[in-house]
Symmetry: C2
Subunit: 333 residues, 2 copies
């Protein structure tokens, strides 16, 4: 069984979206699992009552299994991470994560202030030995299988050693969460040759050759949407958080731009529906903050209930596969 | 009048594609302009004869205005830049660029070895005062007007001062080549706020505030395909060459991936035709190597005759607008 703590106060559409997500998730999860709703108790009760009005009896029964954890403080999207953590110790963010540190929960899922979640997760859960900072792994849909891109925003200036850490984190993520037996790790660069790239990438290439991973060498920007390079499929794309974040946001934006152009051109909504669905980030739920001793799933602030629900399922999968434990083992190698 | 030197030996489809490009261009250019075909004379004559067989009399007449410049050496795509330049002084690349240094030509256009072209252009033409390295400006199609992204591959590790140089180069390019009256310059980062970004970007943001350009602040990956950010349209996207190159190659690849998915989904070739055309990099021809004292247009190795023809037209426009002169003035500010 897993206990999944959900931040009810976090995200652009809180508390409605997290509560709706919990109601979706509880219908999919086995009854041995517990969803812990963390936030202002009065707000949670009111929102739950609202959403349960007229709900099917089965949903109402499932919702009775929710645990409510009162957290009087609320971290705003605009709060500075350090201030939020120090100044609001009883926020849904801090409290929700602290449950794990105290052995009362197994995973934390939030669509709230990302910086605050990173800071609180790192501060409260601590990092695995051998890590300097956690990384965010984001799943990119491709023409083939989805790939995990990391870091996608937590670390902007990265050393070669940090890029190798991302490779290790991505290896475990691809195996445990994406189910790849022997994940192919590619290093994002500007040419296939080992001597292509910036200084950190060139050094990381050499280090990765001896890292005991299935390292397939440098890959290029063009290989990412394909999910493969000349040497075969790719499962993990390693890059610094600046490049990863620029690429992620570019990718999120280029699809809608192209679909808009197409619909002006007579392509129907039905025709692009399946593609939009295939590219839908909501499907992949949140991005785990990799490297912390525990499970902390970061969802986009704009997350729909469906996206947050998938964040909960990602959290469950991380718990069940013991991802954090495997990361500790991998980093000790 | 402008004299445009075309590298007939450069590119994956040389010499056929450059010769075909010259034949397309000569029909569009006013008869006061001269196209200089640089390469092995025998190869050029043979290819010209082949392509002119059965051509319309007007084309044959126009082709009579070509100048042929014999260049016995050939730089291969796999040659190291430095070796190519030093070991093959009479290649079409070196000779074609040297024509400009000697006052016998106004622009050089090549689809050949990019590294060699950069090295030869920098070595033979020299850089404008105040520049440490040249930059490659690539035009990205967007939902609005095209934007120029630079650097897109010439400089992988960039200082803040270099990013500011790119902003100046991009400003002149957007004005002279894209025809923007007061180009809006955006700094690519991972958040709008001035304090977001890697170390070089954060410092560059501060420097750009006082650079006398129409600096609109940080933009994000999502703004690039839109061609605009919250504060309005964008004309110039400033980034280091690592990020720019990854983004460029990603962009080139994501369109075909989506179109492939769509066609599996019943969207017809006709329906996506106009969009593929709108995204077609060939339309934008080559990317000028910005910062050299002269005009050196870099075309993609895979360039079609149409793309190389557009490279010739881009070269003409750079000559006619005195882009290089304006870059010198801008850098002196």
């Amino acid at each position: 069984m897993a206990r999944l703590a959900l931040d009810v106060m976090g995200g652009d559409h809180a508390p409605a979206a997290p509560i709706a997500a919990a109601l979706l998730a509880v219908q999919e999860l086995g009854s041995e699992h517990v969803i812990q709703l963390v936030g202002r108790e009065a707000v949670i009760r009111e929102q739950l009552d609202d959403q349960l009005r007229g709900a099917a009896p089965l949903v109402r029964e499932a919702a009775a299994r929710f645990e409510v954890v009162d957290a009087p403080d609320v971290i705003e999207m605009t709060d500075k991470p350090s201030v939020a953590i120090r100044g609001k110790p009883n926020s849904s963010m801090s409290l929700g994560i602290r449950l794990q540190a105290e052995g009362r929960s197994d995973a934390f899922i939030s669509a709230g202030n990302t910086g605050a979640q990173m800071a609180a997760s790192t501060f409260i859960l601590k990092l695995h030995e051998g890590l300097s900072r956690p990384a965010i792994g984001t799943v990119f849909p491709t023409a083939r299988q989805p790939v995990v891109v990391l870091d996608s925003g937590a670390n902007v200036d990265c050393s070669a050693a940090e890029l190798v850490q991302f490779a290790r984190l991505g290896h475990v993520y691809a195996r445990d969460i994406l189910g790849r037996a022997n994940p192919a790790v590619g290093l994002l660069s500007i040419g296939e040759e080992p001597e292509k790239g910036n200084a950190a990438v060139k050094e990381a290439h050499q280090l990765l050759l001896g890292a005991g991973l299935h390292f397939i060498g440098n890959i290029e920007g063009r290989d990412v949407p394909v999910g493969a390079c000349d040497r075969g499929p790719v499962d993990v794309v390693v890059c610094d958080g600046f490049t990863g974040n620029v690429l992620l946001k570019f990718y999120e934006s280029v699809g809608p731009m192209l679909f808009g152009m197409m619909m002006k051109n007579g392509v129907t909504k039905e025709q692009i529906g399946a593609i939009v669905h295939a590219l839908d980030y909501a499907k992949y739920g949140g991005a785990p903050l990799l490297g912390v001793r525990g499970v902390s799933i970061i969802c986009h602030g704009k997350s729909s209930p469906e996206a947050i629900k998938n964040g909960l399922l990602a959290g469950l999968r991380a718990v069940e596969t013991r991802m954090s434990h495997h990361i500790g083992e991998q980093l000790a190698k």
